[in-house]
Symmetry: C2
Subunit: 335 residues, 2 copies
DNA sequence: TAGTATTATGTAAGCGCTTTCATTTATAGC
DNA sequence: GCTATAAATGAAAGCGCTTACATAATACTA
C-alpha cells in the first residue's frame, strides 16, 4: 500500500500538502492540488485510516452496540444506521452486547478503544446510572430505544404507550368488548408502557380491564403460545387479543388455530413491531409499526449533526408508532 | 484515557515492559508484571487499539463484508462470525456492499484501510478475477457462499446441488410425479446449482423434466407470487412445487391459497434456506436447511487458524444441506 | 570465581498520518 | 519600487503504541 510519503515524493510536494488536499481543510493552489491528485491516482493511494485516527484523534467511524446481530429488529436498525453513515462518508464499527451487562460494558469499551467519534447504543442490561456516567465523559453517546430523562436529548425512542393505545383502540372501534392482553416482561419499560396504553384505551372507552385476561410473556414466540394456552384454559370469553409484540402474536395465533379458532372471525389479534414475519404469517398480522430502521437513521443523523457539524439536519427524539391494518383483526361478528 | 506512558511511570518501569505484559509475548518477572498490572488497574488503563494497530500492523480485528445488514440470512451469518471471533478475543468490523460492484469494492478497501487482519467476504457483484487478484495480495480473504476453484481453500460454501436434489427427492419419494420448479436468477451460481440438483433427482427417478413447469424468479417473495401465477396460468397439472428459496415459496404459497389450492393436500411445496419465516408461514414450510450461521462460524475459524495461529481448529469448506420436514409437503393424495 | 549463557529491562526508532508554526511566495496598496 | 498583508507550502513534533537492539542483572558452568 502506498503511503502519503510516496505520494508527496511523486508529486514533488511535502507531506503536509498531501494531507491538506486529502482533508480539504486548508487552501492549496489548484495546480498543486492537481499534481497531488494525479500522484494519488497513479499510486492507487488510499489513506491508512488507522494512522489518520491516531494522528487526528478522530476516526470518522461511529460505534454501534446492539444486543444481537441477528433477528429482524437489529438488522433493520443496523441497516438504517449504516446507510445514513455511509452516505456521509462515515463508517460503522459494530459490536454485540448479548443483553448481558458485562458483555455490554465490554463492547462499549472496545468501541471506545477503537477511537470511535460517537457511540450509538442499544443496551438493555446496563443501568441508567452507568449510562449517565458514560455520557458525562467525553465520548458522545446516543441511546436508541431507551429513554432516560436526564439524557433526553441523547435518546431516540418510541412512544410505546401510544402504540399500546392504538392497538387497543383499533379493536375497540371494531366493536370488541372482551379483550385479552398479552404483555411482555413487565420489568422492561417498553412492555410496561405498551400495557399502560392498552389500559388507557380501555378506560377511554368506558371498559374496565379484567386482570384475569392478562398474561405476561417474555416477548418470545414460544411464550406467546404458552400464554395463549393459559388464557384459553381459563374459559373466559374474549373476542380479541392484543399482544405486546409480533412474535408472541405469532405463537398465540398458532395455538388459537390448534384450538379450532378462526382468526380473525372467532378471535382478532393485533401485534406490535411490524416485523417482517407479520407479513408472512397467516392471516397477515395487523400490528403497530415500530419504525426501527427510521430510528436508526435518526440516531445516525444525531451523530452527524452533533459530532460532524452537519447543522442542517432536523432531529426528532420520540417517534410515534402507527397502526398497520392487515387481516388478523376484523369487526366483531354480528350476534 | 490513561496511556501506556502513565502506566509505565506509575509502575516505575519502561514503556517496553508495560507493552510486554500487555501482550504477554516476552518474559517479564513475576514481580514486575504485578507492579504493572496494579498500575493498569489503578489507572483504569485500556490500550488504545488504534495505536496498537498502527504500531504492530495487526489489528486483532477481522473485516466482514455482507450485502446487507438486514434480513434473516445476513443476521445469522454475522452473528455466527461475531460469536466465534469474540470468543477468541478478536473483533469484527462490518461493512455493507449492497450487491453493487462499486460499493463492494469500496467496502473492501475500507476494511483494508482499517488494517483488518483478514477479510470475510460475502460478495455477489464483484468478479472472480477481482477476487483472485485480491487474494494474491497480502490481505488474507475467505469467501463465504461462493466457490471459486482457484481459491477453493478460501471458500466456505454450500453444496447447493445436493440441496436441490434433496428437496426434489423428498417430493418424489412422497409419490409426486408432476413437479414444477421455481428457480432463482440463473446467472447466480447457487440458483443454477440448485436447479441442477433438481434435474438430477428427476432423472434418477426416471422422470423427465417438463420445461413448461419451470419459472425463473429473482429470489424475492414477490417474484414467487408472480411465478406462481405464471405456472398456474399454463393450466398444466402439477402436484408439487420446489422453490429455489423460502421467500419465493412464501410468495407462491400465498398465490396458491388465493387460487383455492390447499397446501399440502392439493399442492406440496418445498423451499430452500430454512429462514426463520419458514417456521412462521402457514402451513410451516418444508425446506432445505442452509446452515449459514454455522458457515459464518467456520469462516471465522478459518481466520483463527490461518491468521491467528490457532492450529487445533478443524476446518470444513463445503457444507451439506439437510432436509427439514414440516407441513407444506405431504404424500400425494390417493387417486 | 572468572567466564559464559540466560533472563529481564530499557532505549529509541518507527508505524502513517495530522497539525502547529515558521517560512516562502504572491497580491495589493501607495 | 517597497512595504504590508494574505495565501501557499514546508519542517517537524507528535498521536500511543510495538519491537529491534543494547544493556543490565542473574544463573550456571567448570
Amino acid at each position: 500500500m502506498a503511503t502519503i510519503y510516496q505520494v508527496s515524493e511523486l508529486a514533488g510536494v511535502s507531506l503536509a500538502t498531501v494531507s491538506r488536499v486529502m482533508n480539504n481543510n486548508a487552501r492549496v493552489s489548484e495546480a498543486t492540488r492537481n499534481k497531488v491528485l494525479a500522484a494519488m491516482e497513479q499510486l492507487g493511494y488510499r489513506p491508512n485510516s488507522i494512522a489518520q485516527s491516531l494522528a487526528s484523534n478522530r476516526s470518522n467511524s461511529v460505534g454501534i452496540l446492539v444486543s444481537e446481530l441477528h433477528g429482524p429488529f437489529y438488522g433493520e436498525m443496523l441497516s438504517g444506521i449504516e446507510n445514513e453513515c455511509r452516505a456521509a462518508g462515515k463508517h460503522v464499527i459494530i459490536a454485540a452486547g448479548h443483553s448481558e451487562e458485562a458483555s455490554e460494558k465490554d463492547g462499549i469499551e472496545f468501541l471506545i478503544s477503537r477511537s470511535c467519534d460517537a457511540l450509538i447504543l442499544h443496551v438493555e442490561a446496563v443501568s441508567d446510572d452507568y449510562l449517565i456516567k458514560l455520557a458525562s465523559g467525553n465520548m458522545p453517546i446516543v441511546l436508541i430505544n431507551r429513554f432516560i430523562p436526564r439524557l433526553a436529548n441523547n435518546c431516540i425512542s418510541l412512544d410505546n404507550e401510544l402504540g399500546g393505545y392504538l392497538a387497543t383502540k383499533q379493536l375497540l372501534q371494531q366493536g370488541h368488548k372482551q379483550l385479552a392482553y398479552m404483555a411482555g416482561p413487565m420489568w422492561k419499560s417498553d412492555a410496561k408502557e405498551r400495557y399502560n396504553g392498552h389500559l388507557r384505551a380501555m378506560t377511554e372507552h368506558g371498559l374496565s380491564f379484567n386482570p384475569a385476561l392478562l398474561a405476561e410473556g417474555d416477548f418470545q414466540d414460544s411464550s406467546g403460545s404458552a400464554c395463549m394456552q393459559q388464557l384459553l384454559a381459563k374459559g373466559l370469553p374474549f373476542t380479541a387479543l392484543v399482544c405486546a409484540n409480533d412474535e408472541m402474536a405469532a405463537g398465540a395465533m398458532e395455538v388459537a388455530r390448534t384450538h379450532g379458532l378462526n382468526v380473525p372471525y372467532d378471535l382478532s389479534i393485533v401485534g406490535f413491531d411490524n416485523l417482517i414475519l407479520a407479513r408472512y404469517i397467516y392471516p397477515k398480522l395487523t400490528t403497530i409499526d415500530y419504525p426501527i430502521g427510521e430510528m436508526g437513521r435518526m440516531a445516525a443523523r444525531w451523530v452527524l449533526k452533533n459530532i460532524y457539524q452537519q447543522q442542517a439536519l432536523q432531529l426528532k427524539n420520540v417517534f410515534e408508532p402507527v397502526l398497520v391494518c392487515r387481516d388478523s383483526a376484523s369487526a366483531i361478528a354480528a350476534g
